[in-house]
């Protein structure tokens, strides 16, 4: 699709277990500048865990993650500055319910990046306009529809001008008729050249927006490649079975 640049995120041999349960068993992947990678896989296959590990919300057991060539998963690396260079959008939005929409978007700018209120709010208003939320700045999150809330969450993650956005099944908690508006916002970010790792169940969307689809199965990336190829002529049996199950449930 677009010409990919230098690697932004490099994930090398990452493993993560919760107690006895090994969720990630050696994940390797690279997300290059301006590239969008769709991470697909069954529920519970570790997509969320991988994204949380990259954003240092979980500590990995083995392997390394590099951001712009620097290792970020070394225990000596401070997590806070790394998280400021990444954006994470959650499946359940996780907006701050006691703050207005605008306050949600500017909190990180003001507290973490040290921006002045005026500066942060000007940028925040512009972002909300960009995601079609003009006029909702002073509303509370619970006054918004799910689709609007998720767009606020995307604006919040994007406000820190991250090097890469991590999107964790951002449409899974939405009513079907609200999925489109959120996908539209992501498409807009892709056009703007945002580097993204998108965990998703929306195969049509993955095909349309992603430069590459990676299939996470049994704690590893078992197949990755161009969306058309992976989604229509998968090489691996596991991928084929996963896609067949999705087809049965009417998700494709």
């Amino acid at each position: 699709m677009s010409a990919a640049g230098a690697p932004v995120l490099e994930i090398r041999g990452v493993t993560k277990a919760f107690g006895e349960r090994e969720v990630l068993r050696g994940v390797d992947m690279t997300v290059s500048e301006h590239e969008a990678i769709a991470l697909i896989g069954a529920s519970g296959s570790g997509k969320s865990t991988l994204l949380r590990c990259i954003d240092l919300l979980e500590e990995i057991d083995d392997g390394d993650v590099f951001l712009d060539g620097e290792v970020i998963t070394d225990p000596s690396v401070e997590a806070v500055p790394v998280r400021r260079r990444l954006g994470l959008v959650f499946q359940a939005f996780n907006l701050f319910p006691h703050m207005t929409v605008l306050e949600n978007v500017v909190l990180g700018q003001m507290r973490a990046q040290g921006a002045s209120r005026a500066e942060a709010e000007e940028q925040g208003r512009a972002l909300l306009r960009r995601f079609g939320l003009e006029g909702r700045e002073d509303d509370r999150p619970d006054e918004l529809s799910g689709g609007q809330q998720q767009r606020v969450a995307i604006a919040r993650a994007f406000a820190g001008r991250p090097r890469a956005l991590l999107l964790d099944e951002v449409t899974s908690a939405l009513d079907p008729e609200l999925v489109g508006e959120v996908l539209h916002a992501i498409r807009d970010l892709k056009v703007a050249g945002m580097t993204m790792l998108i965990a998703t169940h929306e195969m049509g969307f993955a095909r349309e927006v992603a430069d590459e689809v990676a299939f996470l199965h049994d704690g590893r990336i078992v197949e990755a490649g161009a969306p058309d190829r992976v989604l229509t002529e998968p090489e691996r049996d596991e991928t084929r079975r996963f896609l067949a199950r999705l087809l049965e449930s009417g998700r494709i």
Partner: protein, 278 residues
């Protein structure tokens, strides 16, 4: 046309039935209230001892006589519980934060905070008032307060801070983990996440139980009377001892109700509101 008429007839019939039900309900409530409350009143008022009980507990002349002094004492109670409540809000939060803190270096502080809440919640407040009110002056150390009111206030504060700390801690624990994750993800430190995201939500949620503890605290302010200060209950007791009439205590009770009943209504309303949000 005919169709809408048919529907509105059905609707009218339903509305009329609903009104009938409501009226019947109200009538039943009224009658049963009269029977229950009236019955209780008759039962007590016709009891053989009622005239002497009325004289000992509800004497109007005694009430008028005692009220000014009881009221004066009550101001001391108000001062004590307002100051203690402010101290409890701050100290309780501090203890809660220490108990929820992470990091091995803070282990002794965590342990101390845990021992404190266990100990001070487990001991009757009355005992604490005795221990601190009489024990601290008996140490004869310089620099420590010896004023009975101050010592009584400290005892109350220590006892209630232990309860309030646990209320705060429950509030902090009730804020969904995703809120902390989201705060960290936008680049906040753990301390900033606590300050800007978790605590504001936790405090809002625990406002009703906190006010509930304050209701109890306001009543327990009478415990400092055992140390001697001339507060409402103490004054009432002195007058009662002089005249062998309990009406002054009823006067003190009324003053307490003036403060606690409105607060109880506030607690109810807050409970309804936070219940509605979720």
């Amino acid at each position: 046309m005919t169709e809408t008429v048919v529907i509105s007839d059905r609707r009218l019939a339903r509305l009329a039935a609903k009104r009938r039900r409501q009226r019947r309900g109200q009538a039943i409530a009224a009658v049963s209230s009269v029977i229950v409350i009236g019955g209780l009143a008759v039962w007590i008022l016709t009891s053989p001892g009622w005239p002497s009980v009325r004289e000992t507990f509800f004497s109007w002349s005694e009430f008028k006589n005692a009220f000014p002094e009881v009221l004066e004492g009550f101001w001391l109670d108000v001062k004590v519980f307002v100051l203690v409540e402010i101290a409890v809000l701050i100290f309780g939060l501090l203890v809660a934060l220490l108990r929820t803190s992470a990091g091995p270096a803070l282990f002794p502080i965590r342990l101390l905070a845990t021992v404190y809440t266990d100990l001070f919640r487990g001991v009757p407040t009355l005992l604490l008032v005795y221990l601190i009110g009489f024990g601290i002056p008996a140490l004869q150390l310089t620099g420590l307060p010896t004023e009975p009111v101050v010592l009584g206030g400290i005892a109350l504060g220590l006892s209630y801070s232990a309860y309030v700390a646990e209320v705060y801690r429950a509030g902090i624990a009730s804020v969904h983990r995703g809120q902390r994750d989201a705060a960290l993800a936008v680049g906040l430190t753990e301390a900033q996440a606590l300050r800007h995201v978790i605590l504001p939500q936790a405090v809002r949620r625990v406002a009703p139980p906190l006010l509930n503890d304050f209701l109890a605290l306001q009543k327990d302010a009478v415990l400092i009377s055992i140390l001697g200060p001339a507060e409402a209950f103490r004054n009432a007791q002195i007058i009662q001892g002089e005249n062998f009439n309990y009406t002054p205590l009823i006067a003190a009770a009324l003053l307490y109700l003036v403060i606690t009943v409105p607060l109880a209504r506030v607690v109810d309303r807050l409970g309804v509101q936070t219940g509605g949000v979720r």
